[in-house]
Amino acid sequence: MTSGLRTERIAVLGETWEGWLCAAFLARLLGRMTQVVVVPTPQDAGAPPALASLPSMRGLHDAMGLDEHDLARACEGTFRLGTLHEREAGRSFVVPFGAPGPSLEGAAFHQHWLRLKVQGDEGGFEPHWLGAVLARSGRFLPQAEVEGLPLPEYGLHLSGAAYAKFMQRAALHYGAKRAARLAQALPGNDDRIDALRLEDGADLRADLYLDCTGTAPDAAAGWHDAGAAPALAWSEDSTQPNLSATRMRLEEDAEDILIPLAGRSIRLRSGGPGGEGRLGWQARSWRGNLVAIGAAACRLPPLEMPQMRIAQIGIEALRGLLPNGADQRVEREEFNRVTSEAYARLADFQRLHRILAGRAAQPAPDDPLARKIEQFESRGRVVTYDGESFDQDSHLAVMLGHGLMPRRYDPLTETVPAGEARSRLKQHRRAVLRAAETAQDQGEVARILHAPRRRSAGGGR
């Protein structure tokens, strides 16, 4: 058996927010044994004005020893409880994080609601979902006891530039280095990079290279193409309708997104011609000894703000499959299999939105999405696959939100007498209301979080 870490250096190409994120993560993880070097390149993409994360990103931040409150404080952050989707005629729905309620008598929580709904005497689902109620009303409930209700989960809205800077500081703090700019990558055998020639004339050799430049090689072999990229127009906006939700509107041929930061909002309009490059992902984002992570591996439209999640997919897959030395074949194959699966599922989730909004073609019978839609329509069963970024609850919210109403419900719900089911749902709604009342307004949370701080002996929050 071979022992000892033989990965002496990892070179991160791209002084981007993704590059610094990878560098910070790896430097913290591999600290003593592996040198992490960030190499700026001429292709480096700038940081987007705003980023949004999913609750699962917290695991990555935790692993770096970063507290999300500190992060929010440093990055004009707000806590993201979900996405508010505005539809035509003033209608809207929320895709919150976390679960609505516990299952009962072997049937999922929503099935009990569905049963009463199908039988014709029940209101909407949203009032049963604490996360959705909080997201819609701009509230936040960090960690309170909520009698019998699943605790709402949350991600973050962040300033992209501030996040990049924060990650740079973290990376350097954990021992990562920044090299001179890249002049040219020197190719070796078998798709491998032999070394990086830098502008200061030095050659930098590493055991593994990460492409975090944020620019994907269009139509490279193995590129899974998903159409021309839409034009993106970012602007700053002083309206702050709601700090707890990303606001999203699907228009005829555009998406209009409002991301609330502390004190200002960022608006993103995405659509129409004039976008740069293509959408899609690399089926083999690890080739030779070069691993593409983030937008260099996968580019999707901004619906549900997938950018951070895309970077997270690559980083987590790499974490599970860190190679050791030059023979990286087994790791490479598995990495490419799991990441391309995850990118496909993420793209599917966006497509699900569009199909249900009537803005994309219905899936073909053998499309994995067809099964998700059919199963839900038939009996409210939520199907997910390996490699999903959004869990069953998110799928549930999207399908119900777009008005996909199952024809039937789980017959196991009938083991609860209808009267009892009705009163339990009512109790549940009351509990949601009570919990929402104890929650803080996020404007208030932000005011305290972002207040200029006096140093106190205890520091921290």
Binding site: M1, S3, E331, E334, Q375, R381, E414, T415
Partner: protein, 508 residues
């Protein structure tokens, strides 16, 4: 508008599958519109084996509201902490596939990766010594796990051994109490509806015609409805799992009472040993191309630890699965849906999983195609995952002889090849969604069958040598000092769930 719910459910067969199904579906009757009826024939016995289980069985019992001690005392049941595989890797070798986990993770790094590193750097105890279930099993001790995750006792996991006939009888009482109607009689004819080819009714030898909306075929290997009437077809997996016969015989209980199943590799198959309170169940599973029935019987009888109690019974089977377990209004559950040999005691679990999925996709009178295809897809996946796990045991072996050589050299499914390769490289194991066997199960068998990783996850090097050493030593100490303090298996049973001295006759 919802279609009318299913009115009459007819279960054909009263073996383990039939009664498990009846007991679980009985709750549907609470809605007041569904009636459950079970038909079984006293002339046609049940298969009468199937006495070892895996941990998820406790969820099934929980769903039915079954009290563990009551259940074990009425089925001559014992606890099972794992399976010992003797001679599988090579003659003279043995390993345990324990339930429960190995050590605990540190800094997000899997315990087994830290152990692999520790091993690369010096002499450390065997993997199994870091698993409480295994340590307790070899000491013949047992205690249910603690719920406190900080307590080493929480890492224990277990299943049961029980008398198959008594288990079916136990579930029968449960189902009948919940209103399931039982009819004794042999099905002699099946009538199909002209318009859609669905089963309309079955006719019993008495002449009685039993109509139904949904038929669950629990008739055993013969697949009376699913194959006999619906002609679902069978996918044969004998090229990967060539055993096709078994001979079984009970023998007298021996002391100490082991809390695990033993599986011993033999020349052309393997032998099981399942300890119950009143007797030991034994059987030899073999491949008829390589061993005659007489030789099989002799091998079995020559390798019993206690006196045989009765005549050996011979069984035939074909490994594989029904191409579609649900056709029209017939759902096959149990042996009628397919068979995977009992090497990892998965058949009863496949019954449980079939029931669970049937409940999740329970049809109404319209019988939407989409529920049927989904059921078939999920069951096919489940069978395939278990199949891969079984093949691993046979494939990674150094045993000699034509039977074993064939297995070692055959081409395995791609999904399994990839798993072995990932483990062989750096000891990595990834679990798929919905997969029955998890990382620790795969680890036990991959390592046990002699797959040795070339390296380990480089992340394990991020901890200092001292930290890893301390963690391994601490875990080892905790487990090795806890195991001897647990009560003896036999004593625990005596105190909590001893069977009454004269067990009732089994129903078959």
């Amino acid at each position: 508008m919802s279609a009318a719910p299913i009115g009459d459910v007819v279960i054909v067969g009263g073996g383990t599958a039939g009664w498990m199904t009846a007991a679980a579906l009985s709750r549907l009757q609470k809605g007041g519109r569904t009636r459950i009826r079970l038909i079984e024939s006293d002339d046609i016995g049940t298969v009468g084996v199937g006495e070892a289980t895996i941990p998820p069985i406790s969820q099934f019992n929980g769903l039915l509201g079954i009290d563990e001690n009551d259940f074990l005392s009425k089925t001559q049941g014992t606890f099972k902490l794992g399976i010992e595989f003797e001679g599988w890797t090579r003659p003279g070798h043995s390993y345990m596939h324990p339930f429960g986990s190995y050590g605990h993770d540190a800094e997000g790094i899997r315990f087994y990766q830290l152990w692999l590193r520790g091993r690369a750097e010096g002499r450390i105890p065997d993997l199994g010594e870091f698993c409480l279930s295994e340590a307790a099993a070899y000491l013949h001790r047992f205690l249910p796990p603690s719920r406190d995750p900080r307590d080493v006792l929480s890492s224990l996991a277990y299943a049961y051994h029980f008398d198959a006939g008594l288990y079916a009888a136990y579930l029968r009482r449960h189902a009948e109490a919940a209103g399931v109607r039982r009819t004794e009689g042999k099905v002699v004819d099946v009538a199909l509806r002209g318009e859609d080819g669905f089963v309309r009714s079955v006719t019993l030898a008495s002449g009685e015609v039993v109509e139904g909306d949904l038929f669950v075929d629990c008739s055993g290997f013969r697949g009376l409805l699913i194959e006999g009437a619906m002609e679902a077809g069978f996918e044969d997996w004998r090229h990967w799992l060539p055993c096709d016969r078994a001979v079984a015989v009970p023998s007298a209980r021996t002391e100490p009472l082991l809390p695990y199943t033993r599986s011993t590799a033999r020349e052309a198959g393997w032998q099981w040993r399942i300890p119950l309170q009143h007797r030991t169940g034994n059987g030899l599973v073999y491949c008829s191309d390589h061993l005659s029935a007489e030789d099989a019987e002799q091998t079995l009888l020559a390798n019993l630890e206690g006196q045989p109690l009765g005549e050996p019974r011979h069984l035939r089977f074909t490994t594989g699965r029904r191409k579609e377990a649900w056709v029209g209004n017939v759902v096959a559950i149990g042996l009628s849906a397919g068979f995977l040999e009992p090497l990892e005691s998965t058949s009863i679990h496949l019954i449980q999983s079939g029931i669970h999925k049937l409940l999740a996709l329970f049809p109404d009178s319209r019988f939407a195609e989409i529920e049927r295809t989904e059921y078939n897809r999920l069951m096919a996946l489940q069978f395939e995952q278990v199949r891969d796990f079984l093949i691993l045991h046979y494939h990674r072996t150094e045993r000699d002889g034509a039977f074993w050589r064939y297995l070692r050299e055959m081409e395995v499914p791609e999904s399994l090849r990839r798993r072995i390769e990932l483990f062989a490289s750096k000891g990595r194991i990834f679990r798929h969604e919905d997969e029955l066997f998890g990382e620790d199960n795969w680890l036990a068998v991959l390592w046990g069958q002699g797959v040795r990783p070339e390296g380990y996850d480089p992340l394990a090097d991020t901890l200092s040598k001292e930290a890893v050493g301390k963690l391994l030593a601490g875990t080892h100490r905790a487990i090795q000092s806890t195991a001897p303090q647990l009560p003896a298996h036999a004593a625990y049973i005596e105190r909590h769930c001893a069977a009454r001295p004269h067990p009732p006759e089994t129903s078959s």
